[in-house]
């Protein structure tokens, strides 16, 4: 974004109109819900193997409950991720990282931001598609089967974990290397001492 346009807003040292960015906090919810949703579907799918373990530990467990967790967590991930992506785009538009720096992956700030932005939209689409797929398995195709989820669905989930890892690392680099929206890093760039100003 053009720096003159950003200057039209009243922003703090971190380049935002509030103290800490919103997007990284919503990311906890997107990732936690999606990953745990798939994990519990895997637990449900492999239930016959685990049965003796639950019995040994005296934990009452019903197979269909694991699929409930898989379904509700996935649906919650799909809903919250719209907000995660929206907050991400708002904050990426206000980002003003250094133009010279390069990340450990050899990408400059603009490339990192573009890939992280495109990746965010792709992941949102994938999460929504997975939720719809999961809904069909739950309510139409596998309603009366002991194993509610297809192996292919679980495999797709694991593939999305890998994509999330790459995507999340790009986001982490924007923060921890480029210092986007981090008060102390912006102050250091302006030649100020955060130790005196952030007391």
């Amino acid at each position: 974004m053009n720096p003159d346009l950003i200057e039209q807003l009243q922003l703090g040292a971190n380049g935002l109109p509030y103290q800490v960015p919103i997007h990284p906090n919503l990311v906890h919810l997107t990732l936690g819900l999606f990953i745990v949703g798939i994990a519990f579907d895997i637990v449900g799918a492999l239930f016959p193997l685990e049965k003796p373990v639950f019995k040994l530990l005296a934990i009452p467990a019903t197979r269909s409950n694991f699929f409930d967790v898989g379904w509700y967590n996935m649906m919650a991930a799909a809903i919250i991720t719209f907000f995660t992506v929206a907050a991400g785009f708002y904050e990426i538009m206000l980002a003003q990282p250094s133009a010279e720096m390069q990340s450990v992956w050899g990408l400059k700030a603009m490339e990192t931001m573009l890939w992280h932005g495109v990746g965010g939209v792709v992941l949102l689409l994938l999460i929504v598609a997975m939720t719809i797929w999961r809904g069909f398995q739950r309510f139409v195709w596998n309603r009366d089967r002991a194993r509610q989820v297809q192996w292919l669905y679980l495999l797709a989930g694991l593939g999305i974990f890998a994509l999330m890892f790459v995507h999340g690392t790009l986001g982490a680099q924007l923060a921890a290397e480029f210092g986007v929206h981090i008060s102390a890093d912006r102050l250091l760039e302006m030649g100020q001492d955060p130790n005196l100003l952030l007391k």
Binding site: L29, G32, A176, A184, L188, P194, L196
Partner: protein
Amino acid sequence: MFEYLPPLNDHNLPYPDTMHPIVVHFVIAMVLFAVLCDVIGYFTQNERLYEVSCWNLWFSTVSLFIAVIFGQFDAGLSDPYTAAESTLNLHTLIGWSLSGILAAITAWRYVIRSRDPKTLPAPFLGVGVLLVGLVFFQVYLGDLLVWVYGLHTVPVVEATREGVFQ
């Protein structure tokens, strides 16, 4: 002591990125979703959501112990400047306390579920709401450490090594 560690990178870490902020996904998301499921389940009489809540709560408890361990690694290597110290201390104190509090709440839930999985006593719901408040505060403190004080970010680590902070 530091000579026993592998060489530290420009985040002052012996591994590529901070681990604690990744592990806490599974504490924050699972606690908040467990309490949300309890609240919705309570008011809509949907006992299926109680099970969803139970398993999420259990997952968050296990994750919290792992989060504290990685938190100690990251914090021990963060070399905080004076302004960041008190926030890091409070975040550490609440983090350890939360692992006890959350384990106790999960144990209570196990007893409730063993007796009758289809009903949830209202006091448990109240404790859940208090727990969410504490988790929010703890997340806010963690946010300050990363997004205000920039611990483990390249510019802050560089400034610390060059002795910029007064």
